[in-house]
């Protein structure tokens, strides 16, 4: 098992290197550079050259990459062009705000999805199955940023029972903070709910059709024990997709955070795009990709713990 974990970790190294190369290349391809944003176009050329030298932009590209990578490895994510603050601290608070949405949303979406999926599979073809499958397909087909707007229109504008935007005042009580969480969490949980319930329904049906289940019931095993076997067999593929979906919650949060003006990593990216603050944008994307890679390793290890056959 430890060897397996070691191998997975080792394998992440070239992937992360690849990710850093892609992001660096994108930044290189970006139209214009820092100097275009920092100094007015009518400024003398020398000023721009001094700045370029200061940022190391006059060095060869590969040298710039290694300096950048070296800084990254030391935990230096660069400095925001706009605020002149280190990106790291800003990103840390934004990330924790994003996780505050993503974790409850994942929990809600995964549980609801698994329950709906299992029920739909057990009542295959019945009205319950049709209803749940319909909910699931709507969940994956709805543009969730639009759902956010609709929820705001209903609960904030028309009924006026829940806040429409933001996290609430920082010194507000817990209940107030929770009230601000409700709408964005529901919005975010829709897609994972739909995806997981469709997947769980399909894999439970697949397992139910396999012979060993008939063999178990023929042996007179209790239904609850059989359910345990089904869960055990459906878990690895479901876990894999859950890992992916959690990553999507982080990466896709930008849309929902924009709708709700949530000060998370998505909001940070949106602001960075608006201000053309490339260091903030590229570092945020890099960190999110790093987290996603870590989640995938975690999922692989979990899968291998449940099903030893996957420990190759």
């Amino acid at each position: 098992m430890w060897r397996f974990i070691g191998r997975r970790l080792l394998y992440a190294v070239p992937i992360l290197l690849g990710v850093s190369i892609i992001i660096f290349a994108l930044v290189q391809l970006a139209p214009g550079d820092v100097t275009d944003i920092l100094i007015p176009p009518e400024a003398p050329k020398e000023v721009a050259d001094i700045l370029r030298h200061k940022f190391g932009l006059d060095r060869p590209v590969y040298e710039q990459y290694f300096i950048w990578l070296g800084n990254l490895l030391q935990g230096d994510l660069g400095v925001s062009i706009f605020t002149n603050q280190p990106v790291g601290s800003e990103l840390a608070s934004a990330l924790s705000n994003t996780l505050m949405l993503a974790i409850p949303a994942a929990f809600l979406g995964f549980t609801l999805g698994a329950v709906l999926g299992v029920l739909a599979a057990f009542f295959r073809g019945g009205w319950l199955d049709k209803l749940f499958s319909g909910i699931a397909i709507a969940g994956v087909s709805l543009p969730h940023y639009w759902v956010g707007i609709v929820l705001v229109a209903i609960f904030a504008v028309t009924l006026n029972v829940l806040p429409a935007q933001g996290m609430g005042p920082e010194d507000g009580d817990v209940w107030d903070s929770l009230r601000h969480l409700i709408l964005p969490v529901i919005t975010l949980s829709l897609i994972p709910m739909g995806v997981i319930s469709r997947l769980v329904r399909a894999s439970v049906l697949e397992i139910l059709s396999q012979e060993f289940i008939s063999a178990l019931s023929a042996k007179g095993m209790a239904r609850r024990r059989i359910l345990f076997h089904i869960v055990k067999n459906a878990a690895p593929p479901t876990l894999a997709v859950m890992g992916l979906q959690f990553g999507y919650l982080l990466g896709g949060s930008i849309l929902v955070e924009t709708v709700y003006n949530w000060p998370g990593s998505g909001g940070l990216m949106n602001l960075a795009i608006f201000r053309r603050d490339v260091p903030v944008l590229s570092s945020t994307i890099l960190v999110l990709a790093g987290i996603f890679v870590a989640i995938n390793i975690l999922v692989d290890v979990l899968q291998a713990l449940i099903d030893p056959r996957l420990r190759r």
Binding site: G251, L255, I273
Partner: protein, 308 residues
């Protein structure tokens, strides 16, 4: 041997021969896989309805100038954010008094282009890469699949946001960003399916005819993997439509004043305080289109008897 033949002929009569040209024609007429898929699709009412809806949406987009009742860019200061049926505005007016129905019809053009085209590009590129990786195996496989692993490290829309956000907004960058986003999953699915087909004896049998790898991939592998890849791809179109509109919603996609559903949604965001129904309309359009592609994918999956 001669005795056996005559015995058989005695029972069944002489075996009639067939002209090769006619045999060729018959071979094309045979009840092949796609014909069977079509026959089971014909009986699937949901899928037929969904296909018709999609066809109507595409036709509306193509013939937008004929269908639109108003000029989609002509506003009015007095008639802003009016409800359904205000004057002759079937679906009301937007925040600058432009006709919603006409804008939705024209918006379908850019929304469909930016939602469907990337998936088609990704299908062509990713499908070829995946089939090549699955069929040729070895080093080709390693290079292709490991590169895809790197792209996979970006969760969902993040890569698209990285590309659009850093390179700048506009239709071309949206198309590029979404194409790159959808290549890795298509490569992975095509590779998996191809590896399965590759292990079947008929591929080996084709190899023993001395045909080239390219010929075997086109004539024997492609028609056996295409169904599954297509089903998967149609489900991606649904996601792509949502994401493309999402990029415009963020201001990363199509630039104003062009009509596009995601952009319209963004422009109407503040209008939910005045007329929520009108503000929600572009989302309904995205939802119907995306849902139709999802249902179409499900229908195809069932007709082709594909599991997951």
């Amino acid at each position: 041997m001669a005795d056996q033949v005559s015995a058989r002929e005695a029972i069944e009569g002489p075996i009639p021969t067939l002209d090769p040209a006619e045999a060729l024609a018959r071979a094309r007429e045979g009840k092949g896989y796609w014909k069977r898929v079509w026959e089971s699709l014909k009986d699937d009412k949901v899928t037929i309805v969904v296909a018709i809806v999609l066809l109507l949406i595409f036709l509306a987009a193509i013939f937008a100038p004929l269908i639109a009742t108003h000029d989609p860019s002509k506003g009015s200061i007095i008639g802003r954010l009016k409800g359904f049926g205000y004057k002759d505005h079937l679906l009301g007016t937007d925040e600058t008094g432009r006709d919603m129905f006409s804008r939705l019809v024209f918006g379908a053009r850019l929304s469909l282009i930016s939602g469907v085209l990337p998936v088609i590009f990704a299908l062509l590129i990713g499908g070829s890469l995946g089939i090549a990786a699955g069929y040729l195996r070895g080093r080709v496989n390693t290079v292709i699949m490991r590169s895809m692993d790197v792209l996979y490290a970006f969760p969902s829309i993040l890569l698209a946001i990285a590309i659009c956000g850093i390179l700048g907004s506009g239709l071309e960058n949206t198309l590029l960003a979404l194409t790159i986003t959808f290549i890795p999953p298509i490569v992975r699915v095509s590779e998996t399916v191809t590896v399965q087909v590759r292990s079947l004896d008929f591929v080996d049998a084709a190899r023993t005819s001395g045909a080239s790898s390219a010929s075997i991939m086109c004539r024997h592998v492609l028609n056996n993997v295409l169904g599954q890849i297509l089903v998967y791809t149609t489900s991606l179109v649904s996601l792509s439509i949502i994401l493309a509109a999402g990029l415009s919603f963020l201001g990363l996609g199509v630039t104003p004043p062009d009509a596009e559903w995601g952009l319209m949604l963004n422009n109407l965001r503040q209008a939910i305080w005045v007329n929520p129904t009108i503000a929600a309309l572009p989302g309904v359009a995205i939802f119907i289109t995306s849902m139709s592609f999802n249902l179409l994918s499900d229908g195809l999956r069932q007709a082709m008897d594909i599991r997951l």
